[in-house]
């Protein structure tokens, strides 16, 4: 599973899912923390839709962690102050980078978690549809 899809599923699913996968690695391999979880900033780049130019919208608080399994590094980065999530993400990333056999078994679990997220998002989108407005023009005499 490619990184963008994987990290989106993990972050949106939250700590429990990240921890569940990461524990499988932590029980079997020696994981060294290279840079413990710490806060930093990510500057957000956007494109203005009037003239098509780029500009900076502002910064987002993030938590970053780096670990090592054998000689392979892994990084965990997540929005807000979430040290545990950042740590588990780093372990999972290192497992993928090192191509550990466990990651193949995760594909199904991640796909299932993705289905859960899609259901939640679809539910939210459907409830928002209740606020969809259907305007009809008023027929006022003399109006044009």
């Amino acid at each position: 599973m490619q990184r963008l899809r994987r990290t989106k599923i993990l972050i949106e699913s939250g700590l429990a899912v990240c921890q569940k996968l990461s524990q499988q690695i932590l029980q079997k391999y020696e994981v060294t923390v290279i840079v413990p979880p710490h806060n930093g900033l990510v500057m957000v780049k956007v494109r203005d839709q009037a003239e098509g130019k780029l500009f900076y919208l502002g910064e987002v608080l993030v938590t970053e962690c780096r670990v090592q399994i054998g000689t392979t590094l892994g990084i965990g980065l997540v929005q807000d102050h979430q040290p545990k999530v950042a740590y588990h993400l780093a372990v999972i990333d290192a497992a993928y980078q090192a191509e550990l056999p466990e990651v193949e078994e995760w594909e199904g679990q991640l796909a299932a978690a993705e289905d859960d997220l899609a259901r939640i998002q679809a539910g939210e989108a459907l409830t928002l549809e209740r606020t969809k407005v259907h305007f009809s023009m008023m027929n006022i005499e003399g109006a044009h």
Binding site: Q2, D48, A50, Y56, V62, V78
Partner: protein, 369 residues
């Protein structure tokens, strides 16, 4: 006359700070940061936007410490921000894949994907709801359960569109609005390099998006009232929703979008404002050109995003002698920390300068030179 530093007052200052805490706590009640985050959503969004830092928990903490004063909370959040390292720059954040929570148009009744009112106070009567005085956790749980049941029971059967087209595409397809050329020139960053005038468009937009809401709205309003624009802007689209933040993978190559790192989502408000402008066509014929102003800010800050789109237009199309079309006037006065900081400094001791002014006044009034 030179400046003279004053000293002393340490004990009084310590007591003053203690007194400030006492004023916050004197009624023996405290507000949980989580309660501020969830219950004062609009203030949290405003402070994050003005501080230019998307961090809900920290914004809520700053609001608590500032006793709800937005300018003080913004100052606290900006100060904290300055202690953190900037680790990365995001990949281009796409508005096209936004999860839309609200989308309205004042220009077109029917837009592809429809108009979604979402959560808005626009349609409330603005009558004080005295029931809120008696709101309890039990009331809240019961209301939420009923809301959930109602939403589940009467879900619309048609799945909404995931990616919605831009409303302004209607005008572009008709040739009424010129095609937008994408320009990937790296933006300037006003937090790293002081702005000089004339400013670049990226500097203008960055300054507007982190501007103090009241100042941005006031200047946008002044522009529409006749101190600038000669036309009434129309909101083509106001959209509130969540956009994904991603970065290039820091530990190796990131050859495709699929290999980027996802970090989370931020809620934004985006506005496209249509402004008609007179122009000379072929043969000197008077024509009307449709132009756009753009507003985008962190959080659900609708008035600010609309006013930003008006000011963006004003600064992109300068008019001599109009203050709201003067970028130095607008951009140097809308920052919360700079404006409140300067005004606030007037409270600090000016004993030497003031005595000097008094001496001068006495001399002149006595007829001396």
């Amino acid at each position: 006359m030179a400046y003279v530093a004053v000293k002393g007052g340490e004990a009084a200052i310590a007591e003053s700070i203690k007194r400030l805490r006492y004023e916050r706590l004197r009624e023996r009640r405290t507000i949980a940061v989580k309660a501020i985050r969830s219950g004062l959503r609009a203030l949290v969004d405003r402070v994050m936007s003005e501080a230019s830092l998307y961090a809900k928990e920290l914004a809520a903490l700053a609001i608590k410490q500032a006793e709800g004063n937005p300018e003080e909370a913004t100052f606290l959040l900006r100060a904290y921000r300055s202690t953190l390292p900037r680790k990365y720059y995001s990949r281009l954040t796409s508005m096209g894949s936004m999860f839309v929570e609200r989308r309205i148009s004042a220009a077109f009744k029917d837009i592809a994907g429809g108009q979604l009112l979402g959560a808005s106070a626009d349609y409330t009567h603005r009558l004080l709801d005295f029931n809120l005085e008696k709101e309890t956790s039990a009331n809240v749980r019961a209301w939420l359960a009923a809301f959930q049941r109602e939403q589940e029971a009467e879900k619309p059967s048609v799945m909404p569109r995931v990616e919605l087209p831009r409303v302004t595409d209607i005008l572009r397809s008709e040739g009424l609005l010129r095609h937008m050329q994408q320009d990937d020139t790296a933006p300037r960053d006003i937090t790293r390099q002081s702005m000089t005038f004339p400013a670049e468009r990226s500097e203008r937009l960055q300054t507007l998006t982190r501007g103090e809401s009241g100042a941005v709205v006031a200047l946008g309003y002044a522009a529409i009232r006749g101190y600038g624009l000669a036309a009434h802007p129309t909101v083509a689209a106001l959209v509130v929703g969540r956009v994904a933040i991603t970065i290039d993978y820091p530990l190796g190559a990131c050859d495709s979008d699929d290999e980027a790192l996802y970090l989370g989502q931020v809620r934004v408000t985006e506005v496209d404002a249509i402004i008609p402008a007179a122009k000379k066509g072929p043969g000197g014929k008077q024509e009307i050109e449709i132009r756009l102003g753009y507003g985008l800010c962190f959080g659900q800050n609708e008035s600010k995003a609309i006013a930003m789109s008006v000011l963006d237009y004003c600064l992109e199309h300068p008019i001599p002698d109009s203050p709201v079309h003067d970028e130095e006037f607008v951009l140097t006065h809308i920052d919360s920390v700079e404006a409140s900081g300067f005004i606030s400094h007037l409270k600090l001791p000016h004993y030497v300068t003031f005595q000097s002014e008094l001496d001068a006044a006495r001399r002149i009034n006595r007829g001396e030179r």
